[in-house]
Amino acid sequence: MYARDIGDQRLTFGVSGKLIMNALVMFDRQTETLWSQFLGEAVTGPLAGTALDVLPAVLTRWESWLELHPDTTALNQGGPVNDSYAGYYFSPGAGVLGERHRDDRLAGKELVLGVALPQGRKAYAHRQLAQTPVFNDRIGDRPVLIAYDSKALTAVAFDPTVDGRVLRFEAGGVLNGNAVARDLETFTLWSVLSGEALDGELRGRRLVALPAFSVFWFAWSDYFPGTALYEPPP
């Protein structure tokens, strides 16, 4: 998800009908610039080279989101909707264009959490996160907290720094239906979905979400050949 303001110019995006490596290319109605959704950057047109500001968003289940934010609003979709792509998510094909850089470290349709920082990028397989749902890691020299809520199917990345101190985290089980992480310095319980401290010494504080999104491995590895892929310690 992105902010639509570039300086003092507000953009409105449409679907261009074009793809880059199987991923959406948007255009803006103000300048007709083409934007890669995947890269968050203008690729051709008057604003080429401009980056959009990434805003944090999570992919999750409705019940988990509603539990977390009972006062949420929602986009009116007119009624229940069935996902016409449900069959696509688990079929073996990797989009109509195929892959340029096939990477057999994971199956193509495995979901990964892709984290993109100035210090580098790294992918975390959802399957791995289901086994170890909360852990500290590093991307380059930057500490990161990776967390997964298996019921919500939500994978997130946070900055584990609070008041200048890098906290270490472990899985804390489930609180009010949603997964929580526990830091080993204060034993505060933190919501995996929101990064908010729910109970303990640091209650009310909030971890800063890092730019990350869940995506098929074939697409992530196609855009970023040779990408770092998290491997758990033996």
């Binding site: 998800m1 902010a3 303001d5 953009l11 409105t12 995006f13 449409g14 679907v15 009908g17 074009k18 793809l19 880059i20 199987n22 991923a23 959406l24 948007m26 083409l34 968050g40 950057e41 690729v43 008057p46 080279g49 401009t50 980056a51 959009l52 500001d53 805003l55 944090p56 968003a57 999570v58 992919l59 999750t60 289940r61 409705w62 509603l66 977390l68 934010h69 006062d71 949420t72 609003t73 929602a74 986009l75 009116n76 007119g78 009624g79 229940p80 909707v81 996902d83 016409s84 792509y85 696509y88 109509v96 264009l97 100035p118 990028r121 199917l153 890092l210 730019p211 995506v215 098929f216």
Partner: protein, 142 residues
């Protein structure tokens, strides 16, 4: 996440045409996809310099664009064949609970004290929602 739905729709279009040309309900204006490559391929590192100073790349996937050596832009559908939402209607959690099943996937967004959910199945037919939340202009993309 969300990146591959245009491909999915194109595939559905192709299937619909193969099955006798039925129009897919979600894209009444769509014409058949001919995967036509725009020439020449664009090299990311040769992208023209923007007229204005670019905003700082606050952690986009383009953190180091040189890793994306070059890419082709492929045209599958006409512009706006998949209609983005420009004037989203917003409902309460109670009303939304009538539209979304407990296990339905949503994209959840929080800005300040405001929270909004966007049903993924619905987004599949639109791909982009131009919205306002917490006073910020946002593009929710799938």
């Amino acid at each position: 996440m969300r990146a591959f739905l245009l491909v999915g729709l194109a595939a559905i279009l192709a299937v619909a045409l193969a099955c006798g040309g039925a129009e897919p309900p979600d894209a009444p204006h769509a014409t058949p996809a001919t995967a036509e490559t725009e020439a020449p391929p664009i090299t990311a590192t040769e992208a023209p310099t923007p007229a204005e100073t670019p905003l700082p790349a606050t952690g986009t996937a383009a953190a180091d664009e040189r890793e994306v050596d070059s890419f082709e832009i492929v045209t599958l559908l006409p512009k706006d064949a998949i209609p983005a939402i420009d004037h989203p209607a917003v409902i309460s959690a109670t009303a939304a609970d009538e539209q979304l099943r407990a296990s339905d996937l949503v994209i959840g967004v929080s800005i300040g004290d405001e929270h909004r959910a966007y049903g993924v199945a619905f987004l599949s037919g639109h791909e982009i929602v131009n919205d306002m939340l917490g006073g910020t202009a946002i593009a929710v993309t799938w």
